[in-house]
Amino acid sequence: MIDEIGHFALVLALGIAAIQASLPLIGAARREAALIALARPAAMAQLLFIGIGFFALMHAYAVSDFSLVNVATNSSRAKPLLYKLTGVWSNHEGSMLLWVFILAVFGAAVAVFGGNLPPTLRARVLAVQAMIGVGFLLFILFTSNPFARLVPAPLDGAGLNPILQDRGLAFHPPCLYLGYVGFSISFCFAVAALIEGRVDPAWARWVRPWTLAAWCALTTGIAMGSWWSYYTLGWGGWWYWDPVENASFMPWLIGTALLHSAVVVEKRDALKTWTILLAILTFSLSLIGTFLVRSGVLTSVHAFASDPRRGVFILLLIGIATGGALLLFAIRAPSLEGGGLFAPISREGGLLLNNLLLTTACATVLLGTLYPLFLDVVVHQKVSVGPPFYAATFVPIMIPLLLAMAVGPMLSWKRGDLLAALQRLKFAFLLAAATAVATMALMGARSLGAACGLGIAAWLLLATVAEWAERVRLFAEPLGGSLRRAARLPRAAWGMTLAHAGMAVVIAGITGSTAWSVERIASVHPGQSVDLAGYTVALDGVHEVPGADYNALRADLRLLRDGRQIAAMHPEKRFYPLEDGTQTDVAIRTNLLADIYAVIGERDQSGGYVLRLYYNPLVPWIWLGAALMALGGLVSLSDRRHRVGAPARRARPLPAPAVQPAE
């Protein structure tokens, strides 16, 4: 019964979305207040009904209602409740429902918090958002119904892919979707602005918090995904340039560019056309990300949820959404007024450079991801593009970006003085150079690349700190005064400092783990031990341990340094009889400077066990840095400018409601 209510609620939500997508738009064009006012309650009602649908499915999973195909194929009785619930989005149908649920949450959030928006703009934003909702609800109801029944209902379900039964992965998709779908708001604002034919600083100020929120979620989501692949796949790596990883990374790159160019629109009324384009592209890449995962166009480890028939539908959705937005852009963009002018060396110029480099970086990732597909389509040849491609293309683009990232915040708006900025950074430069030299001295001449990497990370971190120190006049006046200044510093400034510092920490982590990881693979008998980068790993024994819905082969390892025990580690190999799959449970011991990473493998002919051991220096910094970046975003989001002092548009005659005359 609850399932039918859920299904019916989705149908109702579709109807409401259709109304929300059309009438407020007509109302905004004809200036009919009644139709304009429809947008807000419609958005709330959509949230209500999609919420009913979503929680009905959650309920079905919680009570193991195997009369639903979706539950029967993706859950089982023995599963812990947490994985029953997260099983909702472990599969295609459920994850699409989560997608529209988050879309509805964002729509309702605009309706609730968008009180300071001009009613016509709000109506248009919500209408465009409802169009996306209509598309995805149609997609769910016609190709991916999570409430499809199974007759007769089986006694137990087929279970959940063991690789997905993990705490980290449980919350990775919702975070990622919060990011993907959050960018839909920036997209809707962009399309609404194109319809209205005006982009001004007030518009940028309304868009920024939404972009920022989506960016924080996406940053967290990507970091979680990478962390998950690090500790579950058992290969000691944390990024594989897998098409699906790239699919989430591309919107992040363009979203980061958008975040920065929106600042220019807000502060200087410039780069408007560009910002609109970025907003459209960010969400389009999010849609393409969804498409790449769902269609099976590109094979990857994520292929467990692919189906080409659905691919055609999503492709159609992307074609209409992005294609429509880009056509509107092509027609309307030339009529957008240009804004403030600026010299090439200026804060605006720095942010523009950031944008160009990030966009180019995204283009290389897009090329690397799609090149195999293009080649397959054109000359029917299968190739795969791997890490060497990205090392040769992506990394060289990132280096100038990181170098410039340290200087940009030091430049003033309109016209900056590069020489003066560099002079203010001389200590940062000297210390960064010292870091690079010290790295070479300690680790040997072969560490040239790593020395550069750590040098760049130090440069970025120190320059960021220097910029902050200047703002609070650290050491230039008594400490108390500096502290008072720090407390009064806008949250947005704090956010930037934290996020940029986080980036520096990530770079250090990437450098350390790429340059100095040590791998040992050995067949070890109980009682024997292996040396690894100054540590000793002793295998005491291996025994079988029953788990909730699996049987595990568990190794008792001791980690020793200079004969002294530091930790006990217990990697497992789990066999899931119901799903007939195995899953490794990696044991990781970290001291925040380096990880010791242990995987137990098969028993070999001689009675030994294959142990895979890794020493991964600085790896934890990758996630610490990412967390710092997301925190920076959140701090910036809490800036009071986003909450109070509702930006008022300068009084200006409203543009003609119908089509804008060309010039």
Binding site: L281, S295, V297, L298, T299, G311, D580, G581
Partner: protein, 177 residues
């Protein structure tokens, strides 16, 4: 201004190309991997039998009839998944199935075949070298070999009944003609 008017159409144009490529990409089976050995004679090899089996498996066995060559291992979960399909195919006695037991412990392989059933007409134990000659890079993989002993088709991953009925058996019929 005219330049800009032209430039703003670029994103839409680029996007149209992208969508076209995606659409064409949808029709392609991304899991169908070509083998460099397609239409080449099968490599020559001689594999010893598994414990408890009389015959090994060698190149000579492939001559004169169309056959399937399947790589498997007892440690491989997808092989377990594929096994019922192979057993059902073997019961039809439509085409001989040969097995290359890839990088496995011989005793474990024998035990595996005893407990799950043995669909193979002949099985050879391979420590990995013959697999390399066949271009194997994961198990299970299934090859269709024609009368002349040439490899004509390669399937990567577990066979499903659909694969057998839609691809493998029609190909076998065609090759036997």
């Amino acid at each position: 201004m005219t330049m800009r008017r032209w430039l703003v159409w670029l994103p839409a144009l680029g996007f149209a190309l992208l969508i076209a490529a995606f659409y064409m990409g949808l029709g392609i089976d991304a899991t169908a991997l070509p083998s460099a050995l397609i239409d080449e004679p099968a490599p020559s090899f001689q594999l010893p039998p598994l414990p408890g089996h009389q015959h090994g498996f060698s190149t000579a066995d492939l001559k004169g009839h169309v056959s399937l060559v399947n790589t498997f291992a007892s440690w491989c979960a997808p092989c377990r998944e594929e096994h019922p399909t192979l057993t059902a195919l073997a019961e039809q006695k439509r085409v001989p199935i040969y097995g290359i037991n890839y990088k496995d412990k011989p005793d474990a392989a024998t035990a595996w075949l005893q407990s799950l059933g043995d669909p193979y007409d002949r099985v050879g134990a391979d420590d990995g070298r013959v697999g390399i000659d066949w271009g194997v890079y994961g198990v299970p993989e299934t090859f269709v070999v024609d009368r002349a002993g040439r490899i004509r088709y390669k399937h990567v991953g577990p066979l499903t009944p659909q694969d057998v009925n839609r691809t493998i058996l029609p190909l076998v019929t065609r090759l036997e003609r």
